[in-house]
């Protein structure tokens, strides 16, 4: 029927055969129905919750892709708003693929790229791209250098080695996340994990460029990144920030062949606790819930290139040859952070209704905090409400974006948002640094 290649970024044309299958059934608006636990927490889509038009659901954006493909609409300011009023959390994608093989997230990345190609970035995103081009990270240059944090800790080796801790731009440059980063480094040190960091030379993974739709910039940054790490023979990259983790695992394969194994720091710490090299001996007497970062969970599944054919058998049954692999969010990193928290003495871990692959987003990704801060804030409030439902005193996450966005919405709730490295540091050292 048709030969297709999914070995690179997909365009709207490439994805048309999948987008055309959307039946507008609305399953993308909810967690898989068997997993719905209450009416109040039965949505999976922050964008649809905020803006409420169908266009703001996963299906709605697939329909926009179809409308662009069919020449019914242009990329106007209004179209761009709909495209970018989305945290790119992937909730719709996993819910839809519980039943189908429509790649909503891929379609949304392609929509953003199409929008960028036709009209450039949103004003609120232009500076982010300029920053990335100008000084290799998405933040303002006045925020300091990516090695500033090294002055606050000793014993950290710098330079390329077999195992590199990829600190990430957020942890390195955002003052309010620094403590959490330092706690991670302390934990790795005490666990005896050998690693180096790259300090000011650490390249950016281009995550923001990817999310904003600037594929040229992302490709450039990704190729540079791959070149640096491959040339140096790096065998393992340990990501502190799950946004980097997700980008390396789920998107770098479209651009290059990164040789190193990519892991997230919670996986390394989980191993350390299991092996007895990291001991969590101090009580942290709180009722805590764990917020799954989308980027550590459903969005972090490894990219699977596919070359093959779609064809019809039995009249109208559409199959792929060879079978096309479908990521459904199942193979994200869900257990290690939970095991770690369960290992903390005194900590009572309770689950929110929406968790793991159908966790509700915090609102802090996809370029939303920059362009639509109110939407980001409302989404954080919704997630904290859910944490309140289960009586959590602390909300733990493993992502600087989540921690920051949730932290900004805690006002008057009596709930504290913490990075998992902070909680583990308290359990390991008796203090959060």
């Amino acid at each position: 029927m048709a030969t297709r290649s999914e070995t690179r970024h997909q365009s709207l044309d490439d994805l048309d055969h999948l987008a055309a299958k959307c039946p507008r059934c609305s399953l993308c608006k909810f967690p898989p129905l068997v997993a719905v636990r209450s009416h109040a927490r039965s949505s999976i889509c922050p964008s649809y919750d905020e803006y409420k038009y169908h266009s703001h659901s996963g299906s709605g954006r697939v329909i926009i892709a179809n409308a662009l493909h069919d020449g019914r609409i242009d990329v106007t300011e209004g179209t761009r708003d709909v495209i970018f009023q989305c945290t790119m959390c992937g909730g719709c994608d996993m819910s839809c693929k519980f039943s189908t093989d429509i790649e909503i997230s891929e379609i949304m990345f392609a929509l953003r790229a199409e929008s960028h190609e036709r009209c450039g970035p949103l004003p609120a995103h232009a500076q982010v791209l300029d920053n990335l081009r100008g000084h290799g990270h998405p933040f303002d240059a006045t925020g300091g250098s990516k090695d500033d944090w090294l002055a606050e800790i000793t014993g950290v080796r710098t330079g390329l080695s077999k195992r590199v801790l990829l600190v990430g731009s957020s942890y390195a440059l955002l003052p309010d996340r620094r403590r959490t980063l330092l706690n991670l480094v302390r934990l790795l040190q005490v666990a005896g994990v050998e690693f180096t960091v790259l300090g000011a030379d650490e390249p950016d993974t281009g995550t923001m460029a990817l999310h904003i739709g600037d594929r040229d910039l992302f490709d450039t940054l990704a190729r540079d990144f791959v070149g640096i790490f491959n040339t140096a023979g790096v065998e393992e990259i340990v990501c502190a920030d799950p946004e980097d983790f997700a980008t390396l695992r789920a998107h770098f394969g479209k651009v290059g062949d990164l040789h190193a194994t990519v892991r997230h720091a919670v996986e390394v710490l989980d191993e350390a606790v299991a092996a007895g090299s990291l001991t969590l001996r101090h009580r942290v007497s709180h009722r805590a819930t764990y917020h799954d970062p989308c980027s550590l969970g459903r969005r972090s599944e490894e990219y699977q290139a596919w070359d093959g054919e779609t064809k019809k058998i039995m009249g109208q049954l559409i199959v792929t040859d060879p079978p096309r692999p479908v990521n459904r969010g199942t193979h994200g990193v869900y257990e290690p952070p939970r095991r770690l928290l369960q290992a903390v003495p005194g900590l009572e871990l309770v689950e929110m209704p929406r968790r793991r692959e159908y966790a509700y987003c915090c609102g802090g990704s996809g370029g939303v905090p920059q362009a639509y801060p109110e939407f980001a804030s409302h989404t954080a409030h919704e997630r904290l409400d859910e944490a309140g439902d289960v009586g959590a005193e602390i909300v733990v996450s493993a992502c600087p974006g989540c921690e920051r966005n949730l932290d900004g919405a805690t006002d008057g709730r009596g709930v504290e948002v913490l990075g998992i490295y902070d909680v583990l540091a308290e359990a390991a050292f008796g203090n959060r640094g």
């Binding site: 055969h17 055309a20 299958k21 959307c22 039946p23 507008r24 059934c25 609305s26 399953l27 608006k29 909810f30 898989p32 129905l33 068997v34 997993a35 719905v36 636990r37 209450s38 009416h39 039965s42 409420k52 038009y53 169908h54 266009s55 299906s59 709605g60 329909i63 926009i64 179809n66 409308a67 069919d70 019914r72 609409i73 106007t76 209004g78 179209t79 709909v82 996993m94 693929k97 519980f98 039943s99 189908t100 093989d101 019809k312 058998i313 039995m314 009249g315 109208q316 049954l317 559409i318 199959v319 792929t320 079978p323 479908v326 459904r328 969010g329 199942t330 793991r356 692959e357 159908y358």
Partner: protein, 611 residues
């Protein structure tokens, strides 16, 4: 591609006129709902024009784009919007979850789409009197989740748990898997708040006089029959803003435990619940099985699903489905019913299961069910024996390699020890939670449509499905539909078998250029067969196009609809292209299609299945 039915015509306005009207409407409606909740942004409007089955209505994937979309926050907003549309001489149509071409505009620039998304509260669950009052955007899944927590359950329409309870109850038929114990949406409506096509707010049933929603037919105005009749007005007669629906006993836990991960979630079957796939020898046996199950009153759900649908529900994608479906015995699982039993305690459970066993013994059938190991094996043996009478030893032998492959695949997935209970759990999950419906029909080719009868006696429903299969076979042979062996009859019993329905589903690829014409031909032909052979009111005899042909054969129902429409909607403000259009004249395309079907139709052999 041309329009099949001619419902999606050209705009009657010039581009400039349309733009001016859009601006005007948006500005005026913003005064009602605020700027944020009304828009004419094309990218947003197209979200309402892309609809399931549009290809059947227009020959394309798109219905017409509305003038604007507005999101009211309350009933008074809705009434004001409706009055405004009447005043402006433009039409309106409301959607809640909005799944289907009937919710969309039939003509560009003619209609305001009212999206009821903001009205999403469960207003009340009255556990003592067993009813719930919901706003339009409450889904079956949401209501069921909350009802479980107070020991109650709600009927969910076959379209799936992600769709609106209110829309199904007020405006559609709403048959589903659980009808034997919980009837269907049409019958469960205990009252409604209705914004009439002219903008009056009417509350029907006991609520108006008693302040409680316990009866839909008074004391108080009893006009359920007027605004929804049997099939509903499909959005063509005003807007419903609240609905009270009957709830039923749930003898299970407050929440079902779910294990596993996507796409293989596994719901734990609660204590005193049975999920059984029951098999008998032939269609006659299935008719008898249905009647006896209905009479016995033991089942929460009795549902007939074709082998292809069951295969789809149990698999993650079409490739995996194709592997399963290649195993010869799988597509011979015609004479099966899924039976779900719930009970309050061990004694009641034992009684109900014993009744099921007795019925199956008497019909020489078997079952695969979550029974204790020794009973499981015995009934599985009977299941295989029943099946082998159809496929013979040769068929079983041919199936052996594929069956082993299946055991390996599913054994690895669910664990070999849990293999048997996993299948029961998946069927339980599919039937009780209505969360797997999309797999069963949309995945094969991209979409589906359905055919044949609505409410009939059970053996007549089976007969209808068999006639539908004969018609469908020709389309399959021509490569127009997915080859499901022509049998894709889905449905079940209602109210302990007082009536029932079986639809004959046809799955196809909506992106094929001729798909719209194919499916309309199939619908026309099956409608005709339903009426001609007294196989109950045709399921698709809705809307002016179909009614033109089938109303005269079925008691002239369209005359009544027209009288209602003219009385309640004198300005024809409520867009009724899927209900009734005053002064409707069938277009040339429709007349041609009808002529083609009449001159070249499948021959129906009513003796074929010995019914």
């Amino acid at each position: 591609m041309g329009s099949v039915l001619g419902v999606s015509g050209e705009s009657t306005l010039t581009e400039e006129e349309a733009a001016a009207l859009r601006d005007e409407v948006v500005a005026e409606l913003a005064l009602v709902v605020g700027d944020r909740w009304v828009t004419a942004e094309p990218a947003i409007l197209d979200g309402y024009a892309w609809q399931y089955l549009a290809e059947a209505a227009t020959g394309e994937r798109w219905m017409a784009r509305p003038l604007a979309v507005v999101l009211p926050g309350c009933t008074e907003d809705v009434a004001e919007i409706v009055r405004h549309c009447n005043h402006k001489g433009i039409q309106f149509k409301a959607v809640s979850t909005g799944f289907g071409a009937w919710g969309a505009a039939a003509q560009p620039d003619s209609m305001v789409q009212i999206d009821l998304r903001r009205m999403d509260r469960i207003l009340e669950i009255d556990a003592k009197n067993m009813y719930a009052v919901v706003e339009p955007y409450v889904t079956g899944n949401q209501l069921q989740t909350e009802a479980f927590s107070v020991g109650l359950n709600t009927h969910i329409a076959g379209v799936g748990g992600q769709t609106s309870v209110l829309a199904s109850a007020t405006s559609m038929m709403g048959q589903g898997w659980d009808g034997v114990s919980m009837s269907f949406s049409c019958r469960n409506l205990l009252g409604a708040e209705w914004v009439t096509p002219e903008g009056e707010i009417v509350r029907i049933g006991s609520f108006e006089s008693a302040g409680r929603w316990f009866a839909g037919d008074g004391p108080g105005p009893s006009i359920r029959g007027v605004f929804r009749g049997f099939a509903g007005a499909l959005g063509g007669l005003g807007v419903f803003t609240k609905a009270a629906v009957k709830l039923y006993p749930w003898e299970g836990p407050e929440a079902l435990e779910v294990g596993g991960a996507s796409p293989y979630y596994e719901t734990e079957i609660p204590e005193h619940h049975l999920s059984a796939l029951c098999i008998v020898d032939d269609w006659k046996g299935m008719a008898e099985l249905g009647y006896r199950l209905g009479d016995a009153g033991i089942a929460l759900a009795v549902s007939r699903n074709a082998p292809s649908v069951m295969g789809a529900v149990l698999t993650a994608d079409n490739n995996e489905f194709a592997d399963i479906y290649e195993v010869p015995f799988v597509h011979e699982l015609y004479y099966t019913l899924v039976v779900i039993i719930q009970a309050d305690d061990a004694e009641e459970f034992a009684y109900k299961v014993d009744v099921l066993k007795t019925i199956l013994r008497e019909l020489d059938g078997g079952m695969i069910a979550n029974l204790p190991a020794h009973e499981y094996t015995y009934w599985l043996g009977r299941f295989i024996r029943t099946l082998s009478r159809r496929v013979k030893a040769k068929g079983l032998l041919k199936s052996a390699p594929g069956t082993l492959g299946l055991f390996r695949t599913f054994g690895k997935r669910y664990g070999y020890r849990k293999l048997t209970s996993s299948m029961s759990a998946l069927l339980y999950e599919a039937v009780v939670r209505s969360g797997l419906n999309m797999r069963g029909v949309f995945r094969f080719g991209g979409t589906f449509w359905t055919a044949m009868g609505s409410l009939a006696s059970w053996d007549n429903a089976i007969k209808g499905a068999r006639v539908g299969a004969q018609i469908k076979k020709r389309y399959i042979d021509e490569g127009k539909f997915f080859d499901d062996g022509a049998d894709n009859a889905w449905g079940g019993l209602y109210e302990n078998g007082a009536y029932s329905h079986l639809e004959e589903l046809a799955c196809y690829d909506p992106t094929d250029d001729d798909s719209g014409a194919n499916v309309i031909g199939y619908i026309f032909e099956t409608n005709l067969a339903s009426a001609e052979h007294f196989l109950s009111l045709p399921l698709n005899a809705c809307g002016p196009q179909a009614s033109t042909f089938f109303s005269p054969l079925c008691g002239g129902y369209q005359n009544w609809q027209l009288a209602i429409k003219n009385t309640y909607d004198p300005n024809n403000a409520s867009e009724g292209s899927s209900y009734v259009i005053p002064d409707y004249k069938p277009g040339r395309g429709l007349r041609k299609l009808a002529g083609n079907v009449m001159s070249d139709r499948a021959e129906i052999d009513l003796t074929q299945d010995d019914l």
